[in-house]
């Protein structure tokens, strides 16, 4: 941990003390302000020559990178290293980060670079104060994870101290990404392997601490739950997943609910429980592919409001532009509409339809889509035609177009559709 650069955190303070740029109350900062001012400055104290050359060099590097001139960028980089001797402490402290960032980018794309150069570069960076554990991962997969785990422990104790907390968060952040570099598969494999088992005790403590920090920790949560399940700690796993899904400090991450649902499904939890998890997912992402599963669960439920929600969910899925060609959803809707209308729940359908009747016809059932769907996917067209017929009546463009088509294979099906529409259309329920 001795390599952990303190300067990185301190470097902020100097800038803070300086009067921040606020102009006529806008509060907006403009990165191109200096350029404008530079065009008119005729006198006064100028930037030092050294600073001028280094900043010019930096812009050359950036330009070369953006033009994919890796060779040139490398040459400029060679000169840019002089910034490490800048007398301006602010710049000197910020420099390693810039060098590391640009240097690794150059080496990443440079056709002549290889792992060896990369390692040498990373070793040098260590000497000028960049956290070196980032490099470890590049050398050996999985190594970064282990080292990170050790560091993690070191930092946990100081969580109460505010100054330390900042560092801790920075660390968690960087370490998390460091772990990401470890391929998930690698980790899954390693977690099961003997070498990793030695570490797993520590890891469980540390991972547990990490995933309690607000954030998106999908790979870690997945792996952690896997590990807990591996040890048979199902209650622990459930708790982790529940916290991850329901803690208010976390962003509303749909995956958290998906993981919890999948876990409960593996556990063969009661349907009621599954429905309650998916209900929340439905509120967050009504277009999620699990919604069709949710619908199946609701359809089978005995409760009337669940069956009503089942219809709502299907309509909700089909509201989204990315789901318009989801044949399963259309199939479910066609089937369920008939079922519901046979069960004399016309009001449910009308309630859903009322908010959609002014845009669904153009969105789903226009003549453009009728032609297009028929050309691309006849089964989809048939399902949609049935729904269109039920919701809009026989006169609707989509239904008329499909019912006029003469297709040998689908003739029977179309006939059936026509009959269903006759019987169930909500437009003239009396007839």
């Amino acid at each position: 941990m001795s390599d952990f650069s303190e300067e990185l955190i301190e470097s902020k303070t100097e800038d803070d003390q300086e009067e921040s740029y606020v102009f006529s109350g806008t509060g907006m900062s403009f990165p191109w302000l200096q350029n404008h001012i530079g065009t008119i400055a005729t006198g006064g104290k100028k930037e030092k020559d050294f600073a001028q050359t280094t900043s010019a060099c930096l812009s050359f590097i950036q330009e070369a990178l953006l033009k994919h001139q890796w060779q040139q960028a490398a040459e400029y980089m060679h000169s840019y290293l002089q910034i490490l001797e800048d007398s301006d402490s602010h710049k000197r402290q910020a420099a390693p980060e810039i060098i590391w960032k640009l240097g690794s980018e150059i080496l990443f794309y440079h056709p002549k670079s290889n792992m060896e150069t990369f390692n040498t570069f990373a070793d040098r960076m260590k000497n000028i104060g960049v956290m070196n554990y980032l490099k470890v991962r590049l050398g050996e997969p999985g190594g970064g994870f282990r080292e990170g785990t050790d560091c993690m422990e070191h930092w946990l104790w100081c969580k109460n101290n505010e100054y330390c907390y900042r560092k801790y968060l920075l660390f968690v952040y960087l370490w998390g990404i460091c772990c990401l570099w470890t391929d998930e598969d690698d980790y899954a494999y390693n977690a099961a392997s003997q070498s990793m088992l030695n570490h797993s005790c520590k890891t469980s403590v540390n991972l547990g601490a990490l995933i309690q920090t607000p954030g998106v920790w999908d790979p870690f949560v997945k792996s952690y739950v896997e590990m807990l399940e591996f040890y048979g700690d199902r209650d622990g796993a459930r708790e982790v997943l529940t916290n991850y899904a329901y803690d208010e400090k976390f962003p509303s991450n749909p995956n958290a609910h998906v993981y919890l649902y999948n876990f409960l499904k593996r556990e063969k939890a009661p349907r009621e429980k599954l429905i309650s998890v998916l209900k929340i997912l439905y509120q967050i992402v009504p277009s999620h592919k699990l919604m069709l599963e949710f619908h199946s669960l609701l359809r089978k439920s005995e409760k009337e409001d669940h069956r009503k929600l089942g219809l709502e969910v299907l309509f909700g899925v089909l509201d989204f532009a990315g789901c318009t060609k989801n044949i399963t959803a259309w199939k479910y809707l066609a089937k369920y509409l008939r079922q519901i209308l046979m069960g004399n729940h016309l009001a449910w359908v009308q309630e859903e339809w009322n908010s959609r009747k002014n845009w669904w016809p153009d969105f789903h059932f226009s003549s453009f889509w009728a032609k297009n769907d028929w050309k691309e996917d006849k089964t989809l067209a048939c399902e949609k035609a049935l729904v269109a017929g039920i919701l809009l009546g026989k006169g609707c463009r989509y239904f008329r177009f499909i019912s006029k088509q003469d297709d040998e294979v689908l003739r029977k099906k179309i006939k059936r559709i026509k009959k269903s529409v006759e019987n169930h259309s909500i437009v003239n329920p009396g007839l």
């Binding site: 806008t26 907006m28 302000l33 100028k46 960032k101 002549k112 952040y173 962003p251 509201d319």
Partner: protein
Amino acid sequence: MDFPSSLRPTLFMAGPLGLSNVPDLSFMCSWRDALMLPESLPENSENGGPHMATQLLWEPETPGPLPLLPPGPDPWDPGVTAQDLLFRGGFTFRRKPRAVLDVTEQLSRFLWDHGDIAFAPLGKLMLENFKLEGARSRSKKKTVVSVKSLLQDLGGHQPWGCPWAFLSYRQRRFSILGGPVLGKSVASLLGELLHEELAVRWEQLLLDDAFTGGALAWVPGRTPQVGQLVYPAGGALDKLCFQEVSLTSSGAAQALRDPGHIQLRGPVRQVVTRTVQGETLLAVRSDYHCALWKVSKQGQPAPLPVLQVRKGATGISLSPHLPGELAVCSRSGAVCLWTPQDGLQQVYKDPETLVFCDHSSWRWADFTAHPRVLTVGDRTGVKIVDTQGPPGCGLLLFRGGAEASCQKGERVLLTQYLGACSPEPLHPTLHLICTQFSLYLVDERLPLVPMLKWNHELPSAPLWAQLLPPPRPGCPRPLLLGAQRGHLRLLHLTGEGASAPRLAGHPQSLPSSSDSLSAFPLLEPKSQWRLQERLKAPTIGLAATIPFPASEPVLSLFQLSAAGDIFHQRLRLQADPGATLHAPTASWTPQATAFCSRWLKALLKVPPPPPVWAAPTFSHRRLLGCMEQRTGEHKGPEGLRAAMAGGRLLQQRDLGPLPSAEPPPAPEPGPEDELSARLEAAWEGQMAAWWERQQGRSSGPSRPSKRHKRRTQLSSTFSSLSGRLDLSDAISPPHSPDRASPEAKSQPPVTPPSHESTQELWAQGVPSERQQTLRDYMAKLPLGGDSPRGVCSSLSQSPSLQATSSRSQTLQERTAELPPRRTTLRGAAVSSSQTSSLRATPSRQRASVPSGSQPQRKKPRMGF
């Protein structure tokens, strides 16, 4: 729709930046960017080495973009620069630079250029203290000053900056008398307003959001190789042009035929096009109006209703899901959805900004994956609003704060829904959000946590973005990002289905129009400078298309500049860029350089922007005739020769008085060569002739408009004074739409009264009738009560809109009467009712009123 099964780990910090209990993580952004990089490593990175990563490089075919069309006939003026607004010199270098507005210089310029406006009302008040006649005053009051003697004392010299200015006791008395009044009122009343105006202009220079979204659109034709470019043209950008363009596989883009056009009554700010269910729609945003056209398969636009936005429209977007649906947002904070069935409905209204308080009234709206859910954005954040839900509710999608680890002072400049791009969207739920520092990709299913953040490092504001279809099947999708000063970035987005979106390869910068300078022949400095200015003109629109999606990956890119030029460049996707060390450099083809020199010739034929307006001068001496020394006119060179022969210092008395028509110190130095010409003339002793020439030239046709422009630039704030004095209304010819017509151009403009009088007097030289002339002259000064009044109430006129159905050659000509361009945004927001800010005017209702029958309204003064 698949949601990424596993998201990238991110620390989530809620709340605003800089709160004590929340660590400011903005400084870690670059770390995160750097650390995102190895993600594009291929699976077998252990043995392959890092450079195995797939690289995507679009190689430009020419070193820079080329103009597509010959330059337009209107001269272009680059407008104010930082040099005009900021205090020059004496800057100490700061890490955080600070701009200081130079109010003093502007104020003194104003007093010189618009002394009538500044002093006339006071002059009128003080009339009783002045004695205009030459006769001796009977009253012995000390408070009455004789104008004659005062002017005599001034001696025709204008003591601005003149250390030898001699002060007589009369002058002293005058300054004691008038000093407090003049100084106070001008400084206090104008100074504050001027400062405000300069601040607005400076902000506009730093960020001009009027053209957010871009005023150039590519309307696809029947084949991908043929399409129409839709863009505004003309000096006022009020002519909407439809230029058919064909893209050939071998050479450059070809403009077919002359463009059809629709004349509008306001500047076009944004042009949006979208093809939904086979129907192509075109939406245009002007400052106070939005219009919609349906483009037929043959490329003919047919008008649909026009919307009026009282408070000024800031953004318009077309629905990617339902044909004809349109979202408009206005400066009042309202967002309206227009649908063919239900017409206009307000779906959201909040005059406050979303996340924290920000003064900007810029608003933006776009669609989402759900056709009835919109995004509403302002400078501080972006919100998702359900148009069918209860009003006011919504969910924050993006917050300019700790959630996105924003920097201090970071503001949203552009938001765009990326899911609309056909054929198969990347993720139909992705939104692009650009700030002045970074680019964010946000998924509407996971609000507040950006899926991707990239530091774009653009040296000007990114205001245009376009996601393109993949150049080859399976390729990542190019995302084009354009900034105001013509800078372009090309990124590649990948990640479909269950993987999170990410960048593929290193982003690329593309050549901008200023890189094309080398294609033009070398010119003498003045023309070279003009060409350079023209090429550096800010971009106001961007359009790109991949014309041969099946065969070869070529990207055709069009850029519209504020000068009205369209630049075109082609980029070819390089086959195997990974193997090369150096990115290949393109060179100019002979055809390209030949085309450029032709274009340049045409450009140089365009009359240059009229010379800088100079204050009118009044030759007091001539009027009063008491300093009559006309004989001294040719004394100069002789005196000089005598002095040189005598080897002594040249003195004022050798030269005689200065040429009486000597202009006052010009507020802005004219073009350099004018000065040299003048010096040359002076040296050869033809100073007077030169001045005569100069006078003749500068009072040419373009002068009044220039004067008008200059004035509006500066005086738009001084609305409090405009009621009394409105010279510009009386003198300037009406602007658009007649501006483009040749009749209007050939008409000699009316000379400003002050000029007229000056020149007449200059020509005649009437010392004998000086009393009478002086009286006339004074009568012409705007002290009288008969100056035009009441033209300033243009805002209350609430210009209506009308559409005519008269057909022009190819297109339906449509004249919409829009209010003229307003230079200050603030001025626009001052008056007009709070209630319905948008009103739909069905074009059919008004179609019966032909545009010609509308009485020619006096051109309202901008900002007044």
